[in-house]
């Protein structure tokens, strides 16, 4: 590993490196430059904007809780499987991660839609999921769960089973081992996973648009509100920029949190 200013990398590589960095940062600068500060507060507190913000935070929080409840057990299952089984399971979990979210939205619609496998069953008992707030949460869980599972699984696998074996040998039952040894030792991975999962749920657009729609106050989350605003409907363009800034601030906050909990940084 080379330290900044040291190492044996060709110096000329600094040019494409700087270009890459600029490409990532300059658009964000352009966004911040277009913020109309005098109307920022009014734009952000407009009823539609507040509704979108509230909906985004609530649905992303619920989606994160669902991801934790299902994702940590799934991560445990993968981490404690044989190398072969774990490889297959990990690949399956990664599919939604590399899939265009739009495709995920179509898939969810085909499963929960009026004529879908589960849609028909749910329809028979009077439950209709597509284009409801619940659909927003389902879309977010679909795209965010892999982030949590992979982060937690990596942490669990790195720790191994030696400490769990020691705890069991000392008389701790399976639930005690989980509560007092496994989960505390995986804490850095869990925190990183939760933060990534929440950020991904907050920014979810494609699957939500297709599966949940864009109804203000019901399914219109912040990314959808930004999109709608730019297309000229509902909230104004100033609001679009203001909401974008809000999402950017949220993303940076998430990033700072993760930095403190990078695997290895916590010890």
């Amino acid at each position: 590993m080379s330290r900044p200013g040291g190492g044996y990398t060709p110096r000329l590589l600094a040019v494409p490196a700087a270009l890459g960095l600029a490409f990532l940062l300059v658009p964000l600068t352009a966004l911040v430059a277009r913020v109309r500060w005098e109307t920022l507060w009014r734009d952000v507190t407009a009823p539609d904007a507040l509704a979108a913000l509230g909906l985004s935070l609530v649905t992303a929080a619920i989606a994160t809780v669902v991801c934790v409840l299902a994702g940590i057990p799934l991560a445990l299952l993968i981490a404690r499987s044989s190398a072969r089984t774990a490889g297959i399971l990990r690949a399956l979990v990664t599919v939604p991660l590399v899939l265009p979210p739009m495709v995920g939205g179509v898939a969810l619609l085909l499963l929960f839609g009026r004529t879908g496998w589960l849609g028909e069953v749910l329809g028979a008992i009077g439950v209709r999921l597509p284009f409801t707030t619940a659909a927003v949460v389902l879309a977010q869980v679909f795209v965010a769960l892999p982030f949590l599972v992979l982060a937690v699984e990596g942490s669990l696998r790195a720790t191994g089973t030696g400490y769990e074996q020691a705890a069991a040998s000392l008389g701790a039952g399976r639930w005690t081992v989980l509560r007092r040894v496994t989960l505390p030792l995986a804490a850095p991975g869990i925190v990183a996973g939760v933060v990534l999962c929440f950020a991904r749920a907050l920014g979810e657009f494609g699957a939500t648009a297709l599966f949940a729609g864009n109804a203000p106050g019901v399914t219109q989350t912040m990314p959808l509100a930004v999109y709608t605003a730019f297309n000229g409907g509902g909230v104004g363009q100033g609001t679009a920029v203001a909401l974008s800034l809000l999402l950017l601030v949220a993303a940076v906050a998430v990033l700072l949190l993760v930095r403190g909990w990078r695997p290895g940084a916590a010890r």
Binding site: G162, Y163, A166, S169, L170, G171, A172, G173, V177, L185
Partner: protein, 344 residues
Amino acid sequence: MSAAADAAVLEAVVEVRHGAGFALTAALDAAAGETVAVMGPSGAGKSTLLAALAGLVPLHGGHVRLGGTVLSAPGRTVEPARRDTVLLGQDPRLFPHLSVLENVAFPLRARGVRAAAARERARTLLDRVGLVDAAPRRAADLSGGQQQRVALARALAASPRLLLLDEPLTSLDPGTAGEIRMLLAELLRPVTCVVVTHDAVDAVALADRLVVVEAGAVTQTGPVREVFAAPATDFVAGVAGLGRVPGEVRGGVWSAGPLVLPAPHTPDGPAVLVCPPARVTLAAAGAAASVHRVEQTLGGVLLHLDVPGLACELPFDVWAQHPYAPGDRVAVAVDPTAARFLPA
């Protein structure tokens, strides 16, 4: 020292197979408070035996019985947490997210002992291993020897009916290992314990009895010093620090090259002479041999002779007066009362 007259607390017949290549069949008993050492070459099945006693490996045959309760049988293995058996390995495995005190209190808390009582008991145990001052520290801040002391206190906090130690001193430097060995000898006295080791010093210092496992079977068992004094196999002779000289018996006489010894009760055929190097002496009336190699040891000097396996131990001051060098002609005699013969 041994409680051998008591009924066995641990009574085990362990049969384990790994695929086609490895099979272990070993019987092992321990009386209450007795410490049994298990020794054997690498891959002989020592660690598998310990893992089977700890409930980490299922049995294909036999049983593990502790105080009359069957803990393992084919198709049935009581979980490690419910066996009253603590396994302490080479790696102390202290929980890195807990303080030293919380580590020692862990087995008590896992049994539902209240926090204050558990902490007080943990403090007492830390005092016994000489580390009460380290109570608030993290395990990672301690040295290897200190970590092994804490792990020992933690194992004792579980008050196990059976304590299993797997090479507990191997990862420590010799000085620290010596200190922990003495501490173990003292703390293990009332505990029923099985200790796997590759060091004869551990067996002598810690154990009442020795069980030797070679190639998946028990080849010798008995009080530690008796086993070392009368090794039944080449491995035990080597561990006991004895010289092994391959030769041949014919008509009650063993010979290897120029060396000839009476072997009255040994059948004809190849046989290995086993003898402490200190009982091989330079004597004018001895067999003619030449010095092959000179090895400096802590105790003095070992002259390896041109008879394969034969070495003669000299005190350093004796060698200093006659500094034998490779190629020198000598005459050697083996004390016949110290000589034993193993079938080759």
